[in-house]
């Protein structure tokens, strides 16, 4: 806040100085740039370096202070295993902010908490002083540099250009961040569980790890049942979404009158805007019981968290996705090919089936791949409607679990960060990221190649 005021003030000063150095309003002609640019220049100098320092400080404050506090603890407390140390630090933090703590409070902890609070307030004060002085110093430097010859506009534009570049680099940084964060934790996981066990193991029961970790035993982390479950649910979803999406795209594009089209299209697109948690609710509370009752009435044993319910609802969710992609692709097939087919006496459906669809096939395949990556990465529907038990089955009436479900169950509500259990979630996340990224790259490539073909 103070910084913003300072920046506004710097703008004013810079602008005024630019006017004074050329002798008032009448001298504006002698300036290289408009006075406002000198103002901006000063303000940017006052604001940016200070902001940068403040940002860096705030982002690392937590970890630095924690380290300091831990260092300040008696040696015997520091030597416990990292998990328990984490809990301890957490307790200290809670104590410091005046919350109720789980463990009993002894004197060392109380001291540590006070220490923490002290460090925090010192840090904040230091930060304030440092930031403000940097702002003042940099602003003053910039202010002094103002003269009629200074190319303030170019300099401001240079800085703005830098800001623009930084903004567009955030996309890259995000990817790097994702890769780094999942990769780092995954390495720690594979340190504990061999990669081959993870990829090819047939049994998944991470809960055992939690209960048995005092004995040093780890649970089973064979992810094959998760892959199978994910594939089963995604396959059911695609089985629903691809035919319905494709056929409705064809019908709306080639058969429907303008009136039906103008109503049906937006209504179908509503399906894409519904939050996934709503689909999950629908799957878990309406469809799954309905399927179970139906199954029971014909004498089938249906799990109340069947893969079928999750897959069907997920399919419904992907329908608009498939249909809008197919629509694009089908419209990209040139009219001349349709004309050629009609001129030979083909009916509409013959033209679509034998000319348009084969010509659009690569594009449709790309769309299906994108839809598949959607289905694989979808979380809420399966979390709410699919089960937790890792069954290795191809029966859609049984309950299966998926990669995303496991990530959620492994991480939600768990504070400690070093057990194989939580790290497994990151390994699964890495896998999910790699698979969906691969699918996307291939799909986007196919679609782009396809577009180029008809341009």
């Amino acid at each position: 806040m103070a910084l913003l005021t300072l920046m506004a003030f710097a703008f004013y000063l810079g602008r005024r100085r630019s006017l004074t150095v050329v002798g008032g309003r009448s001298g504006v002609k002698n300036l290289h740039s408009l006075p406002a640019y000198y103002g901006f220049y000063t303000a940017l100098w006052a604001g940016l370096p200070a902001l940068l320092v403040a940002g860096l400080w705030l982002s690392f404050e937590g970890s630095i202070i924690t380290t300091l506090v831990v260092d300040g603890l008696p040696a015997e407390m520091r030597d416990t295993d990292p998990g328990r140390l984490g809990l301890l630090v957490n307790d200290i933090k809670n104590l410091a902010s005046g919350n109720i703590v789980s463990a009993h409070v002894d004197e060392t902890m109380q001291r540590a908490a006070d220490h923490l609070n002290e460090l925090r307030s010192v840090g904040r004060m230091a930060l304030g002083v440092v930031v403000l002085s940097i702002a003042l110093a940099a602003g003053a430097l910039a202010w002094r540099a103002i003269g009629p010859k200074m190319r303030a506009r170019n300099r401001v534009e240079f800085i703005v250009n830098g800001l623009l570049i930084a903004s567009s680099l955030i996309a890259i940084l995000t990817t790097v961040g994702i890769v780094l964060s999942v990769l780092f934790e995954s390495f720690r996981f594979f340190h504990k569980i061999p990669l081959t066990d993870f990829l090819f193991g047939l049994e998944w029961s991470p809960q055992i790890a939690l209960r048995a970790d005092q004995v040093g035993a780890s649970g089973a982390f064979g992810a094959v049942p998760l892959f199978a479950g994910t594939l089963l649910v995604s396959f059911i979803a695609l089985l629903v979404a691809v035919p319905i999406g494709l056929m409705s795209a064809i019908y709306l594009a080639d058969y429907a009158g303008p009136k039906l089209r103008s109503y049906a299209k937006p209504v179908l697109e509503v399906l894409a805007g519904v939050p996934t948690v709503v689909y999950g609710f629908f799957a878990a509370l309406t469809l799954a019981p309905a399927i179970r009752n139906l199954g029971e009435s014909v004498g089938l044993v249906v799990s109340s968290e069947s893969a079928l319910a999750a897959g069907l609802v997920m399919g419904v969710m992907i329908i608009p996705f498939v249909s809008s992609l197919s629509d694009d692709v089908i419209n990209a097939v040139p009219q001349s090919l349709r004309d050629a087919s009609y001129a030979l006496g083909a009916t509409r459906s013959e033209t679509i089936r034998r000319v348009v669809l084969p010509a659009a096939l690569p594009g449709i395949m790309g769309g299906v791949l994108l839809a598949a990556s959607r289905a694989i990465g979808e979380t809420m529907i399966v979390v709410m409607a699919a089960g937790l038990s890792a069954n290795l089955t191809a029966n859609p009436l049984e309950s299966v679990t998926t990669v995303t479900v496991q990530i959620v169950t492994l991480l939600v509500g768990d504070q400690e960060f070093d057990s194989a259990k939580t790290l497994a979630a990151f390994a699964l996340g890495l896998l999910l990221f790699v698979v969906t990224l691969g699918l996307n790259i291939v799909a986007l490539h196919i679609v782009r190649k396809y577009r180029e073909q008809y341009e």
Binding site: P334, L337, D339, A343, L344, G345, A346
Partner: protein
């Protein structure tokens, strides 16, 4: 049809065409491009003995724009009729009426009567599918399907069920390619994509595809406009040979081509059929001023 205001007609024609060429043409020959009266009568013999197709008072509207005005024309058996005229004069539109390709354009409306062997093809009860099997069409730009050469040719016979067996289909493909003069060039690579051929070959492939269905009439919409001179010569040669078995209507913007391949020529101007007659007569002794201006290259 009520007599329409002359001015109005003229603007509509202009907007339909919306073509820079035509606007330019107008400027260059003020006298020549004076719009014709609505009840203008075509000069020359529109009727022939024993016509294959016969059009009477054909009008085409795009929305409320009058694109073809009161055209009467017969198309004779086993003859090539060329339709010429400045860009946007309606010759392509007229051609597309002959196998109802205009049906694919929503706002297009055709009135009048077009008979194929005494059957009105715009009869409500008439089915366009067999009609188009009888009246094939070759388009301006070669448009082979993105399939193999073989599949391109086999498509028509397949959908119509013309070949009872694979052997018969092979025979149809070979015969059609041979008729189009393409067999020797492609017989070793029938399974390769048709889009891989050169422009001229592609256009002959499209012609072969059309004749594989064994139509009675073939419509060609500027079939050589996208081809180089050598490929054009080949296609023209082919058209001449096809005349023996088929009735052909060709739209062209090249007067030389019309003179080379056709026996009869029809000259269109702003939606009117101005003059029709033997090709030699049209090119040596045009009777209407507009025809003369056009073929002597004063505009168009």
């Amino acid at each position: 049809m009520a007599v329409r205001d002359e001015e109005n007609d003229m603007t509509t024609a202009e907007t339909v065409i919306a073509d820079a060429d035509l606007v330019g043409a107008k400027v260059r020959s003020k006298a020549g491009s004076r719009p014709l009266d609505n009840d203008f009568k075509t000069i020359g013999e529109v009727r022939v003995n024993d016509p294959r197709m016969s059009c009477t008072d054909v009008n085409v509207f795009y929305g409320d724009k009058h694109a073809i005005k009161h055209v009467d024309l017969d198309i004779a058996q086993n003859q090539v009729i060329a339709m010429i005229g400045p860009s946007g004069c309606g010759k392509s539109t007229f051609l597309r009426c002959l196998n109802r390709m205009n049906d694919t354009i929503d706002i297009c409306n055709v009135t009048g009567e077009i008979r194929l062997d005494e059957v009105d093809i715009y009869d409500r009860k008439l089915d366009v599918v067999p009609l188009r099997a009888q009246v094939g069409m070759v388009f301006q730009k070669p448009n082979p399907f993105p399939k193999s050469i073989y599949e391109n040719i086999a498509y028509g016979p397949r959908i119509h069920g013309l070949a009872a067996s694979r052997a018969e289909l092979d025979e149809v493909v070979e015969r059609s390619l041979a008729k189009a003069g393409l067999w020797e060039e492609v017989k070793d690579r029938l399974d390769q994509p048709g889009t891989g051929l050169s422009g001229g070959q592609q256009q002959r492939l499209c012609i072969a595809r059309t004749i594989a269905v064994d139509p009675e009439v073939i419509l060609m919409d500027e079939p050589c406009s996208a081809l180089d001179p050598i490929a054009t010569a080949k296609v023209e040669e082919l058209i001449d040979e096809l005349r023996e078995n088929y009735t052909i209507a060709i739209v062209t913007h090249s007067m030389q081509q019309a003179a080379r391949v056709s026996q009869r020529t029809a000259y269109f101007h702003l939606g009117h059929l101005v003059e029709v007659g033997d090709t030699t007569q049209i090119f040596t002794n045009p009777r209407h001023k507009l025809t003369e201006d056009y073929i002597t290259g004063r505009f168009g």
